[in-house]
């Protein structure tokens, strides 16, 4: 009898304790929600006040520019194919810049990521150093590096390529080292037990595990870099961006060329996306069938 009443009292306690916990959780999420809404409203009114024009007033004009571009370009639709031919070499240059930058950046990222992952680093005490190197190369905008290099080396694709490669090394290095952290470290012990060097342990123990994910991130980065190298054309790095800068300035009557360049970029991105997702699928499915 005493046992059952104790049991009942315990159960009552469990009910009360849990309800108290729930009320507390609800209070916290309510406070968070209020803070979130207050920040959104306050931030929006501050930003609205600092705008030169009014946000809501300007919203009506939002589609004016694209509309003008489309109208003018559709008027000269017949010239579009010849524009494609004209700008194709520039597109090749842009993609080339992106490709070389991705390749170099990914190679640097591999070393940086291996050197900055706990359990794999060659010099564990230097992990923070390599991490900061990656942080710095990520933090400086590509366009700043490109401007400095163009000032030193003169205009052209090489400064743009170096600038994008530096950024890619930092960005991919971070993603790669996150992949590395999920890798199994037991093969490393196995290889160390037979007297392998650090290079052998990495190439034979880690890379087979992480290669599919690395490649998938590198392909995504390639896509981003195509866009980045087009932007760098604006500051004199050549390629499609330079042509776009010339064509897109208001009131020159060259919107048909701008439209052709946009279409070229769009088609390129779609092609890269389709091919890379195809190969990523192959890689992941391949590893799945191996696992089974």
């Amino acid at each position: 009898m005493a046992e059952t009443t104790a049991g009942v009292r315990d159960l009552g306690n469990i009910h009360d304790d849990y309800m108290a916990l729930t009320r507390q959780k609800r209070l916290y999420s309510f406070i968070l929600l209020v803070i979130f809404i207050a920040l959104m409203v306050a931030g929006f009114s501050v930003a609205g006040g600092r705008n030169a024009g009014s946000f809501w007033g300007g919203l009506d004009n939002f589609f004016d520019y694209p509309a003008e571009l489309v109208i003018e370009a559709s008027g000269k639709l017949s010239e579009l194919p010849s524009h494609f031919v004209t700008f194709f070499p520039a597109l090749v240059e842009t993609v080339n810049i992106a490709g070389a930058a991705t390749l170099l950046g990914a190679l640097a990222a591999i070393f940086l990521s291996l050197l900055s992952t706990r359990g794999m680093a060659r010099f564990p005490t230097l992990i923070p150093v390599f991490r900061r190197i990656m942080d710095i190369s990520r933090a400086i905008p590509e366009i700043v590096v490109a401007l400095v290099l163009i000032f030193i080396l003169g205009g052209g694709p090489v400064p743009a390529m170096i600038a994008i490669a530096i950024h890619t090394a930092g960005a991919l290095g971070k993603l790669f080292s996150e992949v590395n952290e999920n890798a199994d470290l037991k093969p490393l012990d196995g290889l160390a037990s037979v007297g392998a060097t650090w290079g052998q342990k990495m190439t034979l123990g880690i890379i087979p595990q992480v290669a599919p994910n690395w490649l998938s991130y590198a392909l995504l980065r390639f896509e981003i870099n195509v866009r980045a190298s087009a932007i760098l054309g604006f500051v004199g790095a050549g390629g499609l961006g330079y042509e776009l800068k010339n064509a897109i300035s208001w009131g020159q009557g060259r919107y048909d060329e701008a439209a052709a360049i946009f279409l070229l970029l769009f088609i390129t991105i779609v092609i890269i996306d389709q091919t890379s997702s195809h190969y990523r699928d192959c890689l992941t499915h391949g590893s799945k069938s191996e696992r089974r």
Binding site: L11, I14, H15, D17, Y18, M19, T22, R26
Partner: protein
């Protein structure tokens, strides 16, 4: 009540369930046995509409289950609870929240997002946990519990749905014998006390014999046996599992007593050698 007619599921060239027909007229505790790949899981998943069927029909009290779509399908799923081999709880949420997930079909997405469950539901969830003997774990994260406790949380989630049918897909396959017994007894009690229909895929014959009113045997997608457990002879079991004369029921047992018995028999046999 539940009528399955010529139900078939094909994955490409593979036929997982082959024209299965079952009729259940009153709430029973039913065990489905068969070797792995025989189509047991697919059959249960089709009943819950987690997997779409290829052809055939399922009727529950005159309603065509296979034709349901959208919210009607989700309403059926809330009537037909499912318990999984790997528990399928949300590991980082507390036990009571996991149990409260049983009421999701009745609540709006926004309310559940902000954890706004009615107080009486919370009390009911804790009472259900108490019925299964794990009320003291109520505020813990689901991942902090042992396998047997997690499976009881999953059963509590199923009970929270207040379902007509409870489907259990290998509920004890990843549990040790002691926990397996606790979980099976809980399912049996739910069947007896609440009068709910329980359909469980089981991988051991003696569990089916001990807890079920009716046993269905599947082999290569077809239903090859459907009767009371006492009709399940060793020959029949060999037929279901496609095994030869070397097949011994005690070898697949998870019951502590039978393990003891077979161990003793083995020792005696060794003593004779």
């Amino acid at each position: 009540m539940l009528k399955i007619e010529r139900l078939t599921k094909a994955f490409g060239q593979n036929i997982a369930v082959d024209t299965a027909s079952v009729e259940i007229n009153r709430p029973q505790m039913i065990g489905i046995i068969g070797r792995s790949g025989a189509g047991k899981s697919t059959l249960l998943r089709m009943l819950n509409r987690l997997t779409d069927h290829t052809s055939g029909t399922i009727h529950f009290e005159g309603q065509d289950i296979t034709a349901l779509k959208g919210s009607a399908k989700r309403a059926w799923q809330s009537q037909c609870a499912m318990i999984f081999q790997q528990f399928n709880l949300v590991p980082r949420m507390d036990v009571v929240s996991n149990v409260l997930h049983g009421t999701l079909n009745r609540r709006s997405t926004v309310a559940t997002l902000f954890n706004l469950y009615p107080t009486e539901d919370i009390h009911r969830a804790i009472d259900i946990l108490d019925r299964l003997g794990i009320a003291e774990h109520a505020p813990k994260r689901a991942e902090a519990l042992s396998g047997g406790q997690q499976q009881r949380v999953a059963i509590a989630r199923a009970l929270m749905q207040d379902p007509r049918i409870i489907l259990a897909d290998e509920p004890i396959a990843s549990l040790d014998p002691m926990n397996a017994q606790v979980v099976m007894q809980a399912l049996r009690r739910i069947h007896e006390e609440d009068g709910r229909m329980v359909i469980a895929n089981l991988h051991t014959l003696d569990t089916a014999r001990r807890y079920c009113d009716r046993v269905i045997g599947m082999r290569a997608g077809k239903i090859v046996f459907d009767a009371t457990p006492d009709k399940l002879t060793t020959d029949m079991a060999r037929e279901i599992y496609g095994a030869g004369a070397e097949f011994s029921e005690s070898a697949t047992s998870t019951e502590i007593e039978t393990l003891d018995a077979s161990g003793k028999a083995k020792m005696e046999a060794e003593a004779y050698v």
